[in-house]
């Protein structure tokens, strides 16, 4: 009898699965609690930044070009900057936040000591950043409405587009942080990858004026697909939007798996 009482508990052979909800929720809970301390600053800049773009480009360029592809220039830029806002609120927080959390604060060490695997960690972080990108990516649209863009029902899908594109960019940022050795190296990625993609996405000027090869190349640019989707959400969907959507889904899946693979190499010796 005594022996039974002393038994230290037979090992429970319950095998925990992959991508468990409770593990993902735990990581999300950490992010949400953290976000409560800096949401004001993030929200402020997410509104002010597109407003500045609209004022600068809308009234600056807008005085030179009145319409682009049949759209008022303010409408063109107001919808196009959604893609920029999504990029800014996903790729950059993911790159810097991930690096800080795994290298400087060692947060990921603490999380992986808990019943959470790298796959769940990366998934949860990407989902969280994607959700934020969905919200903050919509801000330029709201600002543009204030500046005279007509609201339409299709715009209700814009947060979803922001979420989808944001998920891919978040995973891209995590992947970048996992691959690069130093936070200073991020500027290579910013200058050679993100800035060109950002400028040649049909956000500030239409691609129609550019050489043919740029048109082909832009099909590999997730920002281009995001810009197209948002334009069409505001001014009417087309059949080609299924292709844009499929590209963003593929982009998200590929980046997500790569981020998990490279992050696991970083976090597990």
């Amino acid at each position: 009898m005594a022996a039974e009482a002393v038994s230290t508990g037979a090992p429970r052979r319950r095998r925990l699965g992959r991508l468990e909800r409770s593990a993902i929720e735990g990581v999300l809970a950490r992010e949400i609690i953290n976000f409560s301390s800096f949401w004001r600053a993030t929200t402020f800049s997410s509104i002010v930044q597109p407003a500045i773009y609209l004022i600068a480009f809308g009234f600056g360029f807008g005085s030179l070009v009145s319409t682009v592809g049949g759209l008022d220039y303010v409408q063109f830029v107001g919808t196009g900057t959604v893609a920029t806002a999504v990029l800014f609120s996903s790729a950059f927080p993911a790159m810097f936040g991930t690096f800080v959390k795994y290298k400087f604060q060692r947060t990921y060490d603490a999380i992986l000591a808990a019943p959470v695997d790298t796959e769940e960690l990366v998934t949860a972080e990407s989902l969280w950043i994607a959700a934020r990108a969905g919200v903050f990516g919509t801000m330029p649209l709201l600002v543009a409405i204030v500046f005279g863009l007509d609201p339409s029902w299709g715009m209700l899908i814009v947060p979803f587009i922001g979420f989808l594109a944001g998920f891919g960019w978040a995973a891209f940022g995590i992947l970048t942080a996992a691959v690069l050795r130093s936070i200073d190296d991020f500027s290579y990625v910013t200058s050679t990858v993100l800035t060109p993609l950002f400028l040649v996405a049909g956000t500030f000027f239409p691609l129609s004026g550019l050489p043919q090869w740029v048109h082909y190349a832009s099909n590999a640019n997730p920002l281009f697909h995001t810009v197209e989707l948002v334009h069409h959400a505001a001014f009417g969907f087309k059949i080609v939007d299924l292709g844009h959507m499929a590209f963003l889904v593929g982009f998200g899946i590929v980046m997500w798996r790569l981020a998990i693979r490279y992050m696991a190499r970083r976090l597990v010796d």
Partner: protein, 314 residues
């Protein structure tokens, strides 16, 4: 253009014990990092409810051993069982029952004491209805009741360490892994933490602790495992290790370097063991033999450590 940045124990003879009574069981564990073998064929048993201290200098393989127990490092060879579960395949289940206190503070510094504990109550899957009580209990353990809503970056070093330990206990783990729990703390805070750790052991929590503080190992560990270059060089209760390897008494002779060299040579000729300690030579393993004049003192774990590893402790 401005790119926005968001920075956001006691038993040595384990073979005669039932395996299920072991909280940790390592056999022949090897871990290499490129050309370096950090852990080199380690066998380790931690009987449930006891405290085992891994004692060794920096680079002995203690932290790597700790990380392998949470599958944050994967062994190249050998077998690891934690709470009867095989690693790395069942590591996640094992981790749910372990509390980990890392050597380097990884608290969320922008969060309050309570928020840090709340996050870990979630990560360790404390059921919703029990979370608040678990957090209150952990705050009690850390003795941070009046700092509940203080942000971590406003806490003192000792308070942060207590919070780090409390965070590891929020889900009532059966096994606690402490990696250098008191490193860098002042003596008073260290003693406070020793009392806390001793208390946990008396409540039946199994503890594996790595340390390079001799006194810490001597006070807290039922069994001390001395590690050097990734290998176990001795294992046993602190007093038994001292008696076995260093005898009961040591004589410490002070003098100028020439005199020390002389004393050392003479002792080695008599078959005694010696150890340099800065300005003196300690002669160990007296066994009633002839000894020069000097200060007699009880032999200690540090003597054993230096004799066995040939290394001074930091």
């Amino acid at each position: 253009m401005v790119w926005p940045i968001l920075a956001s124990a006691g038993a040595r003879d384990a073979p005669c014990r039932d395996v299920s009574d072991l909280a940790i069981r390592l056999r022949g564990v090897v871990k290499r990092f490129g050309p370096i073998t950090a852990v080199d064929g380690l066998d380790l048993d931690l009987p449930a409810g006891t405290c085992v201290g891994l004692l060794g200098p920096n680079g002995a393989g203690k932290s790597t051993t700790m990380r392998m127990l949470t599958a944050q490092a994967i062994a190249d060879e050998g077998s690891i069982e934690v709470l009867g579960l095989t690693l790395p395949s069942d590591s996640k289940v094992a981790r749910a029952e372990c509390g980990v206190v890392p050597q380097l503070d990884n608290l969320d510094i922008t969060l309050t004491v309570e928020q840090n504990l709340r996050v870990f109550a979630r990560l360790y899957r404390v059921p919703r209805g029990e979370r608040s009580a678990a957090i209150d209990r952990a705050i009690g353990i850390a003795n941070l009741g009046d700092r509940r809503d203080t942000k971590v970056d406003q806490l003192s070093g000792g308070m942060r360490r207590r919070l780090l330990i409390a965070r590891a206990l929020v889900h009532r783990p059966r096994l606690l892994l402490l990696d250098e729990p008191t490193v860098g703390l002042d003596p008073q805070v260290r003693q406070e933490l020793w009392a806390l750790i001793d208390n946990l052991r008396s409540e039946g929590v199994s503890i594996l602790m790595s340390t390079h503080y001799i006194e810490e190992a001597q006070r807290l560990a039922d069994t001390v495992v001395i590690m050097s270059h990734g290998q176990k060089v001795a294992e046993g209760p602190p007093a038994a290790l001292v008696a076995e390897h260093a005898g009961s008494e040591a004589v410490e002779v002070y003098g100028p370097p020439a005199r020390l060299a002389e004393v050392e040579a003479a002792a080695i000729e008599r078959g005694q063991r010696t150890r340099r300690t800065g300005t003196s030579v300690s002669i160990l393993g007296l066994n009633g033999g002839e000894v020069p004049d000097g200060e007699r003192r009880p032999a200690n774990l540090e003597d054993v450590f230096v004799l066995l590893t040939g290394e001074e402790v930091a």
